[in-house]
Every structure is written in C-alpha cells, then in structure tokens.
C-alpha cells in the first residue's frame, strides 16, 4: 500500500443556505491511512463539509474526487461512491426497527447484494471489531449511546469504505461513553483506516490526528499537525478558540 496515495481530494467547496455562505472555498487532500481532524466553533460548516463530500448535501461549487474518480456531478453513480465513503453521525441514526446485527447486515444485503450467510458473517466480524458482538440481537433502544455509536461504526466499516466521515461522533455522549467510542476510533486509526473527524475532543485530535484543520467562518483558518498548531507561536487562532472553550468549561 502506497501511503502517499491521495484517496480523497476536496477542491474549493462552497455552500450557502438561505443566502448565508456556510462554506467559502475549502480544499484539502487526504492520503490513505491518514486521520484528519476538523475543529472549530459551531456553525463554521464542518458538518456541512462532511456532507458535501458524500453529496448528502450538494455543494454549490467545488469538486470531490475519490480514488481519482469525480464524486461530484456523478448522477446515479453516487450510490456507488457512498458505499466507499462511510459516515458516522452525531445521533447514530441506527435503523430503529432492526437489531444491531441487522443494522450492519442491511446494506450488505441490499446494496452489496451479498448472500445471507456471508452478510451475517461479515456483520458479526465488524461487530466484534467494535466490541459489540454480544449485543448483536439487541435493538437500538436497548443500547447505550456509546454502544449504539459503536454499532453505527461497525455498520460503516462493513462496506469496506476507503474513508469514513465522523460527524461529531461523541457530541451526544457523556464522558464515559465518549471514551469507549474514541477507543474504537483510535484502534481504527492505528489499523490504517482513513478518517475525517469533526470533533471537539482535543485529546483525541492530539493523539490520533495526522493533521488538524481549524475552521472558522467557512474556511480552513489554520492547518497542520496538532503539535504545530498548539505550540508554534505563528499559529494563534486555534489556541484562542481552545482557550475560550476551556475558560467556559471552568466557569
């Protein structure tokens, strides 16, 4: 595997909602196996950016490539690309009428066209990866938030994606449940999964991210390794932002 290979290319993404420009030209490249973390104040378009990548939100301008193929303007082929771009949501969005196992199986059966036995096998393997195989036959309402999020990660993993987008995966969880989800994500990162993560978890960003992109007002304001953005005096804006969060939390 070539580690310098660019798996995802995002170029000049713009998006407005009701006359307000949420994204004002965002570009970056993602190498295979890399973890990029997006940090920044609420309303700066981080989640919108992730949704523009898999076209759940259609950008007004800009292009996205996955493995050299254009994802934007791909018409019906978008369903092909979405299989390769996993997504994990803040509120999990597990299918409420299906058990954990069936949640993971569904797209394998309906999208990948796998046979029942194979899909089941694959789903159980992914649930094991996130430590949820003992909960395979439980319904979402019977799971804690952390467990539900781990199942939703398994659901994304089952499609063997090239990259997984995490949209504030721990924002709906209390600290203890946050930890169990972050542990799973760290493991994925170590195993070479390519990940884009929108989060407010600085500890996670520092320990896992190859690169942090600090977003403000719809653009990437600062970009670099966590160490660089936190310690190089040349960078101030993310430090200011973190300082504001910290002082608010100690109030």
């Amino acid at each position: 595997m070539n580690n310098d290979e660019i798996v995802l290319k995002v170029e000049d993404i713009h998006k407005s909602f009701g006359g307000i420009e949420v994204l004002r030209g965002v570009s970056f490249d993602v190498r295979r196996g890399e973890t990029k973390v997006f940090i920044g104040p609420s309303g700066t378009g981080k989640s919108t950016l992730l949704r523009c990548i898999n076209q759940l939100t259609i950008p007004d301008r800009g292009r996205v490539w996955l493995d050299g193929e254009e994802v934007t303007n791909s018409g019906a082929r978008i369903n092909h690309f979405r299989q390769k771009i996993g997504m994990v949501f803040q509120n999990f969005f597990l299918f409420d009428h299906l058990t954990a196992l069936k949640n993971v199986e569904l797209a394998l059966l309906k999208v990948r066209g796998m046979g029942k036995a194979e899909a089941r096998e694959k789903a159980l393997t992914e649930l094991r990866q996130v430590g949820m195989e003992d909960w395979a036959n439980h319904y979402p309402a019977e799971l804690s938030g952390g467990q539900a999020q781990r199942v939703s990660i398994a659901r994304a993993l089952a499609m063997d994606p090239d990259v997984i987008l995490f949209d504030e995966p721990t924002s709906a969880l209390d600290p203890e449940l946050t930890r169990e989800v972050l542990e799973v994500m760290k493991k994925l990162a170590r195993n070479g999964m390519t990940m884009l993560v929108v989060t407010h978890e600085m500890g996670f960003a520092c320990s896992v991210a190859n690169e942090v992109l600090f977003m403000e007002n719809g653009v990437v304001a600062e970009q670099g390794s966590p160490d660089l953005l936190l310690n190089d005096p040349q960078f101030t804006r993310m430090k200011d932002f973190i300082g504001r969060i910290d002082s608010r939390m100690s109030d």
Partner: protein
C-alpha cells in the same frame, strides 16, 4: 314472544349477511392499503403534480357524505362508464374502499413523516437508492407506527358498511330489515343485529391488537414493549 327460535330459523340468512358485511369491510381495508399507501408515498416523496392529485382525491372522498358517494357511484358513475351491470355489493365495496383509501392515505402519510429524517440520511449514506431506503428502512418503521391508527379504521368501516343498505347490498342490516318485515318482530331483531356488530367489532380489533403485539419492536413506536 320467543325470538330465539325465529333467529335460529333465519340463521343461515343472517350468516350470509355477516359474510357480506365482512366482505365489504375486507375489500375496503384491502383497497385502502392498496391505494392509500402509494398515495401516501406520493404525497411525501412525489413531485408537485402527484401531491396535488392526491390532495384533490383526499379532499373529494373525505368531503362528501358516504351516502352521497354511494348514490353517485351506484346511479351515476358506474353506469356512465359502462359498469352498470356490476352488483350493488361491488359498488359498495369500491366506494368504501376508495373512501377508506383517502382516510388511510393520511394515516400512512403521517406515519411516514414521523420516521426520523436521520433514517433516510443514514440509509443513503450507505449507498442505498431512494427506493431501497424507502422499502427497507422507512416503510417497515412507518407501517408499525401506522398500525394502531390503521386498526381504528376497522370499526369505522365496519359501522359505515351498513349504509350500503341504501343501494340494496344484501348485507347484515338489509337482512335484518327483511327479517323484521317478515316476522313483525322489531326491537329484539335489531338488538340481535346490534349484538352481532359489537361482536364483529370486538373480534376484529382483538385480532388487530394481536397483530400489533406481534410486530412490536422493543422501544420502538407507540406499541407495547
């Protein structure tokens, strides 16, 4: 005056009336799903012309008294489109069904719309087509949400079905009226028919509640855990 032997004499006739009434109800519920569900999907996911057409349909069939609809179809529409040879039973079943579809479409529409939007987003994010997402994710949830409201259509249609008497469908009320005419026994016969309606009502709802319990999912919807 001993009514029981008389009722027993007429029992086969009464039973045929019950069968006819239940036939009307089942046809109406069946047509209601068959038409009501696609209409609901059209209203939620369809373009403007479809939403508009469904809106007009619902407005028409909910806006007219059932008796007016029956006369309109029996004396007007069926003969006008060359279907005048169909029996009153068929016309009654069709009218109850078309009217039921209008009501049921709104039950299904509400249920579809109450499925969280995250369900569709998650399904699409996995590469499912819109059709697959609706079929495999949205509808299984929406149908469970709709079931209690839809069950309530059963007693509605059952009681409404008696109106088909007016166009001469030989259903339970028609038979009752004939027995009354023949025997000159009024109140006991009508009470017996009322009892039959209550039993049909109770029995049907019991079955539907059993169905609700059967498809219930822990922690999901309004059903029991």
């Amino acid at each position: 005056m001993d009514v029981l032997p008389i009722l027993l004499d007429w029992l086969p006739y009464l039973l045929s009336g019950i069968a006819s009434t239940l036939g009307l109800v089942l046809a109406a519920l069946g047509l209601g799903i068959l038409l009501g569900l696609p209409m609901a999907l059209g209203q939620v996911y369809g373009g403007r012309p479809i939403r508009w057409a469904v809106g007009i349909y619902v407005w028409f069939f909910r806006g007219l008294p059932i008796l007016v609809l029956l006369f309109l179809f029996w004396f007007g529409i069926f003969p006008a489109i060359g279907l005048g040879h169909y029996s009153a039973f068929v016309v009654g079943a069709v009218v109850l069904g078309l009217r039921g579809a209008a009501y049921q479409s709104q039950i299904f529409r509400g249920a579809i719309q109450s499925v969280g939007e995250g369900q569709m987003i998650a399904a699409r994010s996995l590469g499912m087509s819109r059709f697959t997402a609706i079929h495999s994710v949205i509808l299984p949830q929406a149908m469970r949400i709709a079931l209690p409201g839809w069950s309530n259509e059963y007693p509605n249609i059952l009681t409404d079905s008696a109106v088909c008497y007016a166009i001469g469908v030989v259903e339970l009320l028609t038979i009752t009226a004939r027995i009354v005419t023949q025997t000159h026994i009024t109140i006991p016969i009508y009470l017996a028919t009322a009892g039959i309606f209550i039993i049909l009502n109770y029995g049907g709802l019991k079955l539907l509640h059993r169905l609700e319990a059967r498809v219930a999912i822990p922690g999901f919807g309004t059903g029991a855990m």
